[in-house]
Amino acid sequence: MGTFWRGVLKGAVGPRDNDSRYLLDVHRRDLPGEATMRRYADDDEVDLVVVGAGAGGSVLAQRLARKGWRVVILEAGPFWHPDEDWVSDEAGSHALYWTQERVIGGDDPIQLGKNNSGRGVGGSMVHYAGYTPRFHPSDFSTFTDDGVGADWPLGYHDLLPHYEQVELELPVAGQDWPWGHPHRYPFSPHPVTGAALRLTEGAHRCGIDMRVGPVGIVNGTFGNRPHCIYRGYCLQGCKVNAKASPYVTHLPDALEHGVEVRANCMALRVEVDDATGAARGVVYVSNDDETAATSSDDAANPRRRGTERLQRAKVVAVAGYSIETPRLLLASTSRRHPHGLGNNTDQVGRYVMVQGATQSAGRWPDELRMYKAPPPEISSEQFYETDPDRGFARGFSIQTVSPMPIGWAEHVLADGHWGRALREYMRDYNHWATIGVLNELLPHPENRITLADETDPYGQPVARMDYTLTDNDKANMAYSSTVITKILEAAEAQDILTIQRFAHLIGGARMGSDPDESVVDADHRIWNVPNVVLADGSVCPTQGSANPALTIMALASRLAERMAHA
């Protein structure tokens, strides 16, 4: 469907080949398919075993199940029952995040946990804000065009049909999009809050165009998914089923087509047959097994390793995201891959990226109450591409956000306030509105995931992430901070508080056209391994300044098409 018809038929067209929206229960949030989910035995060689039930793994499983593949997904975290497990509360949402130990190093260590890491069925999209912008065509050739980053072995137009399909499935709501490859969205933009209108006014006075959206949040009704209720707790898991995550957009349909989602199962390594070089399946530990073993005979030793099991499969897809995917590959050593699966040219774990995500808040005389409505409201990609006048390569996007009290306290603290001054700024919470940036930070080989010396309760080495900013990154971050400060000043903010932070993860096992400089080929297949693919954001060679969720889903959708036709 062309973008013209999308505009005309706005809100009236659903996706084909995905019935997830009708398979949800109107009155309960649990997945109706869980109780009747198909189960496979470990020694039953399934067509595909996927590690990770997040944005990439869920889309891949749903697509291939539709083609008749027998699929098992292993997920380290729990199978959510949102009515009981999720709460309208910041601190109470701790279980949504990957809080198992990780080590952070480098000159600019990146905070993980709630900031960017998910765990459980649905992955980190369960607690992402909801922004779903596309990458720009320029993202796929930054090396050729700007001499930085890397070129992808595929282009924007390879992903375009999948972007359009996934946008229908989420479904994405937003104004007509003028940046990158101009396009329209299947649903109309959401209403915005007074706080966001303030920021829009300021941006317009600075000559910066801002648009509403794009967000993967239902505006209207969509099958059995209701309209958003504007309660503002997108980052705490949507109890409404209005915000898109694979839990509501792809897994219902996947379960309907015979996919098993085996939760609480931590993958330990991809088992490779040294004779053939092909993977035989994935070795994992089920928490349910481990709890039983620990409580009966070895309660004194919580570090006891659980019973290892091997799920056999014809094809293995790793979709654990930018930290856990490299960690699993590095731990999967064999005779043919002594330094980790796919790591014979020392590429696994390298070029991991985050985005600069500085946020500035402005203060106004009236009460704005920014906690209402989804935090993602309006955004701009006017500064996305390289502008030689700015003195650095590539760019950034601008997006509104709205921290809840704990997030607001971190913001105030970062501006240098504690004790009485902090309490004073906290009491003023309702008068503030927040705007942030996403800087495209460039891929660098020394920004990487490695295995640390310490091990987790499964006996598996924990991941270490090193990150150091380049001069280009620093120049980009400094420039973008002045832009959002100008927006706040133009909107006549009385006071400004700023926090420098980072967001999102991507890369770490990038695709390319040369095995010496990449981990997978354009079809996501690990070089020289016939049946292991990576189906998550770790394959991205560059990241643009777009939030990664939509692109990860679109890549998995394209990958499924390639695998089905292979």
Partner: protein
Amino acid sequence: MSRRPDIAGGEHLPKLRPGQEPPPPSWLPRQRRGTTPQMIGRYPDYDVFDAIDTWDEATKKAVLARLEPPGPLRFFTAEEEPTLRAFCDVATAQDDEPRVPVAEMVDAKMADAKLDGYRYADMPRDPETWRRVLAGLDHTARTAYRVPFAQATEEQRENIVREFAAGRLVGGPWDDLNVTRAWSVVMRGVLSEFYSHPWSWNEIGFGGPAYPRGFLRLGGPGREGPAVREPFERPGAVDVDPVRKDA
């Protein structure tokens, strides 16, 4: 009572004041409904629990659990306890009852090892960082003022914490810590507990849990009247009792 600052004009905001000093909190109205830390706040007639009937059961359970009387410390030792309490008080400016029991809340988090999912390569795990910080605060107080941190005056404690926030503390336990990162670790712990407590929501006028009710009135510049405020919201107020106006 000190003069009431002009709220709309932002006279109370530390960065707009000489020396970035916040005004003494004595101008703030006493809480008339519900509870706030030290019974001060900007929304004296607002109590987040007025809406508890509209909360879902899971959220209600999680939030109400924070009002349970805090138990004895499980992670921190009896020797560490006074320093812990004194630091939490200074960090959150809690100088009187009722207090949000931040010390107990941090203690529970450390005892249950409910950590945040990352550890700086040059730092110990968060529980050990806490122990070293408390030892360091005592060390600095003894060195500078010849008393333990908990027995120092409020001004002395604030001086020490100011140096801590600036990453300038040295000597004794501090030499085994990256002080700037230690500040970030302990303050992350303190603030995430303090602002998870519903009393602090009353103080700042935060709407609190909102499922399944949601919000309808999103406000906006130039929008006046009933469209701006939900029926259950209370506007910010000054210290005027609507009944005893002359008091």
